[in-house]
Amino acid sequence: MVQLPFFKKKVSHYDALAEKWTDRHKELQAALWNKHSDVLDWFVNRPKQWMLSSLVGFLLLSSSGNLSAKVTPAYAQEQFLNLDKKTFFFSDLYNVLPHEIRPLIPDEEQNVAQLLSNTYGVQVTPEINGIRLNRTYGYIGEEQHLALYPGNTMDSHFDNATDASSYWSSGMAPGLGAWGYFAPSASQLTQEDKLREKYYVAVETFLSPGYMQNVAKYNNFFKYRKVLVVNPNNGKAIIADIADAGPSEWTGKSFGGSPEVMQYLGRVDGAAKGAVLIFFVQDPSDNVPLGPVQPLQ
């Protein structure tokens, strides 16, 4: 411990240095922003999936302004640990993913599946019982809501005003999902049905290898099959279910996502189209809930 001349209170080495060096960083950072505001503004205003996953973004933002005033050892440690974990994930992912968006080869799929399983604590695989999607890495586009039951319209689709205001504008698909209505009537609609529609994805079941020779078997397999969908640019991941077949090959997209899925993944830029990874969830006991999933701590 040392005694500073103007204060009789003892200040620890740590407190003295942490305060001084944090102040120095504020000054450096202010100077950095003053000199390079154009490119830095561009950087932080990129789509969130680009910016939030970035170490540069973290360093530029997390220690700026009033945030640095509340930097405590525990807080900083937590931030850096989270950063490292996430950064390692991205680093690992970029090492195994090809630079272009294309179907993964078997070795790549296995590596990615292993990485995702370890990161999110959900066992995933590109293939179950010899059945696989035509691709596990491709573009996803936003779909519309699906009718839950006969007579379901946008006015009766949502449980609450928040969801209605957030997702009403996406509208409802003119046709039904691949498996028809989620429930035979409004009175028979369950919470599971609602979640299946809320977190649904469309995949090109018809392009799955072997589909045409085993249509009934494959449809049965795909029906509400749980998949892990990951945005590789921001690490956002969600457990979704297959509830529709599509999109058509000519669209250039391989998957479709419900408005809620797309919103969560951060795939809602102007084109509402971006690359995702999709793998089957190994969940024979039906224990894995649908919805967002976080990386293991």
Binding site: Q3, A16, R24, L28, K35, H36, W50, V56
Partner: protein, 109 residues
């Protein structure tokens, strides 16, 4: 996390000096993190100051992708003696950190 400049910007001498202060392990870890953050800011500043306007976005994109080989290839093709400039820019900062630590050690005595 390893940074693309770790092999030329050492902070071990600062860590050794921190070891001579009365610090708990997590306190030392936090101070090292602050040092790294300061160094990173200085590195970004010197590089963005040297790069032509048209290349700045691409540089940030390269850092985002964290491919060290690509970053160095990119920088060396555009900035003369970039390594020396980075070392020089961070030397002043590191000297200040050393000075801060030594001042505390003196007060301790």
């Amino acid at each position: 996390m390893k940074q693309f400049y770790d092999h030329i910007i050492e902070i071990d001498s600062l860590i050794i000096e921190l070891d001579q202060l009365s610090l708990k392990p997590q306190e030392k870890e936090h101070l090292v993190a602050i040092i790294k953050t300061n160094v990173h800011t200085v590195i970004l500043d010197v590089i963005l100051s040297e790069l032509p306007e048209k290349d700045k976005k691409m540089f940030l994109a390269h850092v985002y992708h964290d491919n060290h080989d690509h970053i160095w290839k990119f920088l060396r093709a555009r900035i003369d003696n970039i390594e020396e400039k980075m070392i020089l820019a961070t030397k002043k900062l590191k000297d200040e950190f050393h000075s801060d630590i030594r001042n505390l050690k003196k007060k301790k005595k």
